[in-house]
Point group: D2
Chain length 349, copies 4
């Protein structure tokens, strides 16, 4: 997958190459996934109004039954940018916003598109969700779901986990009680012009055993790479993750027993990956999203001229970017698994 486009350019999009032929694919289906990530759906996300309408530019054709399927050639998906509100970028143009890529871009390229963060904008992630919609179709029987498990310092109660709840609140939260608590917490954050971080969990079910590789191209390595490549992500863990550092080998072992004539595991601390290869269990990953850097409270910074100054970021920002990161995390998980599924089939038939 290759993506292109800036926050305030004419359009963003991606090219998905190497997709198997013959998979049913139409714009409505991709749109369904994009709508989950779309801004402006509740008061807890940016009020930028983007329809995020996707257009399949290439790589599909009608099959013999008149349906539309992939042809095996590159699939280009495009999303026009619509709400590029004309505004004063004065402050952002010349001052380095703490936590943003302003300083590092300029150090690297000597030039940057300061409108809405340019290439570093989270708008780029819409392309990933679109590409992920294609990837979901590649592995037969696979389902990828995500949920928000922590907002600011407030985690869920895992005993309340109910996937059905995820669609019932604006946070993708699987714990109905926590969702209610988050609502008032986030209202406070939002009204204060502040922001908070979050932790997202992504679970892929129906992943066949055998995907990945023992060294380089490990499945967990590529999941870590894919999730860490999402804007604002600062940490990734698989299965028990950081918690396992404190455990003993006895506690951490996922014991096995024959069940219905097949080897099965009695726990899943490994998160579905052993030695870089999928075990057939659910693949479980979590990632941490830092608090949105754009906040109202003035912060110390410097400007391009080399003077000390302060900056306060107004504008239409998410108080917690972690919320909309849920469908993006799902998409990256789906892309990595689809890729490994095809590579495994190539090497091992």
């Amino acid at each position: 997958m290759t993506t292109f486009g800036e926050s305030h350019g004419p359009a963003i999009g991606c090219v998905v190459d190497g997709c198997p032929p013959g998979l049913a694919l139409d714009e409505a289906e991709i749109q369904g996934w994009l709508d989950k990530r779309r801004p402006g759906q509740s008061r807890f996300t940016t009020q930028r109004r983007e329809p995020d309408a996707v257009r399949i530019v290439s790589g599909v054709f009608e099959d013999d039954e008149g349906g539309q399927v992939t042809t095996g050639t590159p699939i280009c998906l495009m999303i026009e940018n619509v709400d590029q509100r004309s505004k004063d970028y004065g402050d952002i143009k010349d001052k380095f916003r703490p936590g943003h890529a302003d300083f590092t871009y300029l150090e690297k390229y000597g030039i940057r598109d300061y409108r809405g963060g340019g290439r570093s904008s989270a708008r780029e992630t819409a392309s990933r969700v679109a590409a992920g919609a294609v990837a979901r179709k590649v592995v037969p029987g696979m389902t990828v779901r995500g949920a928000l498990v922590q907002v600011g310092p407030h985690g869920i109660d895992r005993d309340n986990w109910d996937w059905a709840e995820v669609g019932n609140n604006p946070f993708f939260c699987p714990d109905a009680e926590a969702a209610q608590a988050w609502e008032s917490y986030l209202d406070g954050v939002r009204k204060a012009g502040s922001s908070c971080g979050a932790i997202i969990e992504v679970v892929a079910s129906g992943v066949p055993a055998g995907l990945g590789a023992p060294v380089y191209g490990k499945l967990d390595q590529d999941i870590a790479s894919g999730l860490m490549s999402i804007n604002a992500v600062k940490g990734v863990e698989i299965g028990a993750g950081f918690a396992s550092a404190a455990w003993s080998g006895e506690e951490n072992a996922d014991e096995m027993r024959m069940t219905d004539g097949k080897p099965d595991f009695l726990s899943n601390h490994a998160g579905g990956v052993l030695g870089g290869i999928s075990s057939g269990q659910d693949v479980v990953a979590r990632f941490a999203v830092k608090p949105t850097s754009s906040i109202l409270t003035p912060r110390k910074t410097v400007d391009r001229a080399g003077d000390d100054t302060e900056i306060s970021t107004k504008g239409r920002h998410d108080p917690c970017v972690g919320i909309r990161a849920v469908p993006v995390g799902e998409a990256m998980m789906a892309l990595v698994l689809a890729d490994h599924y095809l590579r495994h089939r190539g090497q091992n038939g």
Copy 2:
């Protein structure tokens, strides 16, 4: 970098391609880094006796001054396996060890080299340390250091951090007090035939601003990929990492001020990476290593014939593989940074 070799095959090694020419490189220097990872140096690591003597097979030549330097062509480094103790692999051969890759390998390939874990053995990481020794020379002025910051449930006191202490104890621990406490804790673990996990921190200083890319090929993405590719690693974080999820935007912001005529940061929660690009600050990453899966206490498992059974792993195993993971983590960090340094120079001159 490409590596090859199994735990109990004749040799392991790697090929480093694309290295700049003219860098001084000899076997003694690489050996110095390998010796840090070498097994059998204290009672807290495996008692396998491997000299881990490295041989430069290609890619170096004498320069006009008679020194030995890289030529710019592929550098092959080899380490002969010496201590491949003949032993009874009966149990490992047919039973799936919990936490090991036995089951997933067989699912993927239908065959596996069961001697010492074969390709999935941590012995492969010696190749990485050797390659990392080359990578350290690529970025002028860069230093990469690592330290163990948690063993089992016991973390260090960061106020005691002293890099000089790292070489004074068998744990690469920067806190002399913690090191002492760990000694008795680990003796207990070792004598019980048990194991524990660990957390390692790697810090790269002297990294120029501008390395990385805004999307795909992000510096933090590649660091996450590199560290997660090390055996037994289950989590990676950059800068404040998972902790930042609980913070507010105000707390997380790394404010800036002009210092000695240059923009500088007042904190480093970002871990030296903003928007996927290095900021010139220290690049800071941590990774979690799960407890060694080979333990004496019997665990439930199944065998290849499909029968329920138990397994208890004897043999020469590290009670805490996280200790020897320190130089490996340093090597992976150095490799990723060297690669991005060359890519940045290619694109941006």
Copy 3:
């Protein structure tokens, strides 16, 4: 570079990643190169009417002087398909056209977009010309020029070579006399509904010495790959090429002499590449284009139902696709050299 799009889909285009920042780039300049390849410019090329108007979708921004320059982020270039004439594809839909990819596509994918050849259409090469326009700006001082040196069995007289003539005839022919002869020859071919092949020569001047690599990533290897990837190309040679097989070592040697204080070559049989690395001389490559497969004379073939039949291809086809292959060959040469220039700078500073 990644391209996407089919002959009769809504649009074609490409994404150029890794381009250095700060290069002046606007649509008018890219358009200039595209206009050289554009169909319908003389009676010797297809009469399909495509404006081939290029649009820069991403990767550029105004610099401090108000000009438009590359930002270092992915550049997406798009060309809308306009003249997708509604027509009866009946014959092409079910019969395999000899010399076309109809049979092999169906064997590979089980589905194909039969409209105008779909993805295998030469229309895809417009994307390459657009990308090549970017690549031309990457290597300072480099010029890439191409010329048609043979049409059907009729070659040029190399003593008449005059680059200035290339723009004076519809064939990119550097020999004014040959151009005149080709005109009547090609009129005959065209009126007969037949077709002919061609040989194109591409010359890159101002290429610095040192680009390429001794093994894998050889400069000549990548030029061969790039040129052979153009539709209908069946052969590629560098410098003296196939002719050198008949020579002696004495004849083939490019002797050297100091000239103006610098080492210089007295001939260029090597075509500017020695051991996979550029020598600083002109890089010279030639490629052979087979005759257009779409001809009026009926040819024996089979259909999807498995019956013997005949096919005669009507429609708007180039009697000699080799003509419009000239700017495409230039573009591929420029892309390969730009890529190696950046890679060389990365490794060797």
Copy 4:
């Protein structure tokens, strides 16, 4: 595949990654192919005495039947350099040999291993033959054969083509009459200390239809890349190649007819590749090898100090490197086809 090693270093070798598991592979079989390329087998090749004994360092293991098979992990193959005759490199060290990479290496790297050409030595091709021996096993039912079809200006008579003859003469010549003529011709070349070029044809039979891709990753593109990457190769063509430029569309068309209930072609001017994808016919490629640059007759050159001088290359050189290029060409063809076979299986199942 990655290779490493210099002509006069301790060893050369390669790492083959991504090979399917379960393929029978032992050293004796690889050795058989290497022996075809081995120097010193007749008076027409270099008299350097290298046993070229290959050692499998990794990636194989005994299977349940006790045979040795690939495990799916990286296969490292090594060949020790034995006959590194101590000699005076004085001339080669400081003078640039015309036709060699001496000048370009120094321009690129500022340093070069002048012993026997270092990394640019044709000795590197032994690694390719070894890797090719693995690749031959990947595509079921595929056979790759090569033959010398022209030596200096003397071509074969294609009517005499008999594959059985290829093993009956020291030239891999399929025409017994031509082989006899070449013997006296090459004796003359050899005694004069001169050299000549050659053309090699490689034919892969039993290649399934569908390998390759419509754009980028075209099968013919990758064959061209693979063959052009062999030392001293200056041209590559597929099927009718350069000759097709002179033909009409009617002559060039490979017509089709149903044969035994399956579509078949009546000719193979395409060389088995249509639109970048294999058609199921024999894949046919030819490549031109320039005359060996090392000749006895003095040639004008310059030295590192910048003075005009002359050079005459003594030593153990092949009068026609094209002869030993035959097994190398076969190996590269096998590697490209194996790679595409696995990629096709990955994408299309």
